[in-house]
Symmetry: C2
Subunit: 372 residues, 2 copies
């Protein structure tokens, strides 16, 4: 029996045309394009078309998701019932996705045509911000705000979640965050979604499984931890002592270091620029704290290049956009759902179940003791 490397690390388990990460170059791409450049110059809807329709418009058809964000009335009621009883937005999100799929008869991908799967993909990713915003408002005793089909996805999410029309600058900063986090190689949640899709299950079930993996602390992607760290450090002059104390006690320093990026995390670079455009005291403090932390880390581990990762500046951007911190990780799922659905479409074309083996390492077989 062939034995896989621990955690399947470095093992190519699928072919994909959707992108990859080149950690040593500080580079990642969606299809053939530099993803950081896409975040700088394109809308989320452009990237959605790239992932789902194969290229940026006008080379491929644009996506029109404005009218796809609305929830069926019954699903909205169910989202409210859940949000009134369950604190975790990611639980309500999982329920909402399954309920939309059930309500609209979006069955197993094995039984769906390519066009139907494409429709499922765009519809289910489109309702993510609506479910999340509705959960947040209901959970805080406020009435839901219906989506506005005339707005961009990022702006409408912010409007529904915060009950205020975002400034163009804030909406664009959050849109850049969303573009930068649509996909990122073959991470655990993407792999999970593809394994579920490989069984021929419905697309909603694959997304729900991916969301489960995304909530894992080892998966990464919890920008609220960074903003809490910035709150705790308060000012740049306190950062060096704080970091040294964390190092001394084995505590965590959030937002720094990455499994594959050595030179820089290209997502962090884009989001730092987005934050700087928003400006203000928080951005100035964050920039100062970042510099101090990097200096101490460089002194501590001179042979490693520890970089600012996506979480640090993402936290600042989402905070400045007025999103409540409990919605930071859920916001990650707004964009990553687009990536997951693109992967499900790709996996559905493979049409083969992902079913590995395990090595039995238990006791040798013995007689079953008598009982009944």
């Amino acid at each position: 029996m062939e034995i896989a490397p621990p955690g399947l690390k470095g093992l190519a388990v699928a072919d994909t045309e959707l992108g990859s990460v080149r950690g040593s170059e500080g580079f990642f791409h969606y299809r053939q394009y530099d993803a950081a450049e896409l975040a700088r110059h394109h809308t989320l809807e452009d990237i959605w078309a790239l992932m789902i329709n194969g290229d940026l418009p006008p080379a491929a058809a644009p996506v029109d998701v404005g009218h796809l964000r609305a929830l069926p009335i019954e699903v909205g009621e169910l989202v409210d019932a859940c949000a009134a009883r369950v604190g975790d937005p990611m639980t309500t999100l999982r329920l909402g996705l399954l309920a939309v799929a059930d309500h609209e008869g979006r069955g197993p991908v094995l039984d769906r045509t390519g066009d139907q799967i494409h429709g499922d993909a765009i519809r289910l990713a489109a309702v993510v911000p609506t479910i999340l915003a509705r959960h947040h408002r209901q959970n805080h005793g406020s009435a839901p705000i219906d989506p506005d089909p005339s707005l961009g996805h990022a702006a409408d999410y912010l409007r529904m979640a915060t009950d205020a029309m975002p400034t163009d600058l804030a909406a664009r900063a959050v849109e850049q965050y969303l573009v930068a986090t649509v996909d990122h190689g073959f991470n655990a949640s993407t792999f999970t979604a593809r394994v579920v899709a490989s069984t021929g299950a419905d697309l909603a079930g694959a997304l729900v499984a991916g969301i489960g993996a995304l909530t894992g602390p080892l998966h990464g992607g919890a920008p609220s931890r960074c903003i809490e760290m910035i709150d705790e450090i308060e000012t740049p002059d306190r950062a060096a002592d704080w970091v040294r104390s964390q190092i001394g006690t084995g505590g965590k320093i959030m937002g720094f270091g990455h499994a594959v990026y050595r030179a820089e995390d290209p997502r962090g670079v884009v989001l730092r620029a987005a934050a700087e455009r928003l400006g203000g005291d928080l951005v100035e403090r964050a920039a100062g704290i970042e510099g101090e932390i990097l200096a101490v880390l460089a002194e501590w581990k001179p042979d490693q290049r520890i970089v600012t990762n996506v979480e640090f500046w993402a936290g600042v951007v989402l905070e400045l956009a007025g999103l409540p911190r409990a919605m930071f990780t859920p916001t990650f799922s707004v964009s990553r759902s687009i990536g997951w659905t693109a992967h499900v479409i790709e996996q559905a074309r493979v049409g083969k179940i992902i079913r590995p083996s395990a090595r039995y390492t238990g006791h040798p077989i013995s007689e079953v003791p008598a009982r009944i």
Copy 2:
């Protein structure tokens, strides 16, 4: 970059002490014991202890799940709200598991002690029949039936789902089905649950992901398809013509053939005996139809040994026990949840994320076209 075999087939991606399948021998085992023998001689609670506590009682502590089947009031309300609006019991089950975990503060496995994870495992697997039965009744306009802690898990599930105390024979037949389907090697749903657990996510999220994979048509495990086939064939004298017609038109013959079992499916053998003890017209017709189908299949593919798989007799057993057919696949999750939770416990001890790679096979990198 190392390339995995397609679908990871035959690749050992984990070590497990929980069991394995030896297809060519028609043999599978839970830990060190023949699983078919366990199904013949032991209760579901015995096997639960084997999987979760490490051995059969009294060598390991027994599990006492009777009082763990009850749902918190708020979760029960939410299950009702879902079942009133969503047809699919597996959607309500996924919601219910997440809601119980949220309600009881059962957070990420990464942050839980071994004892806490053990408690999460037994609690969450224990509520599966309660959620499913409650969904079924609410979905049909009936009030829920509370669990009875004095009953065995199988009997209480039947009682809650059918609103009638099952006969000892029916309860034992369903219990044998449940024991025989607790675990079965490293299938796609078990692997999915382990990938999610490897991110450190909460146990409920891992179960919910596994349920998604279980619903996939390629995962297998839909005994209702077999009973529908028996309905369609009606009597043994019509079986040969029916099968030949299916073969001629490329149609499916449910309940026969298995990816790994050649000699026999040991689960089918156990369940055939269970059905025969229940007896009656359906069993006689099913046995006659099985014989005719096997004869035609042997004539059609003399070099293969096509065996009766678990689904055929499982369908008969669940039908005779009075379960509605819409609950057949959900019933599979009653037992498999026990297996998944045992795998999550094992995966949590590994403490390393499962994060493979993919091979990029798309277009070469090119300039991002201008837009904004």
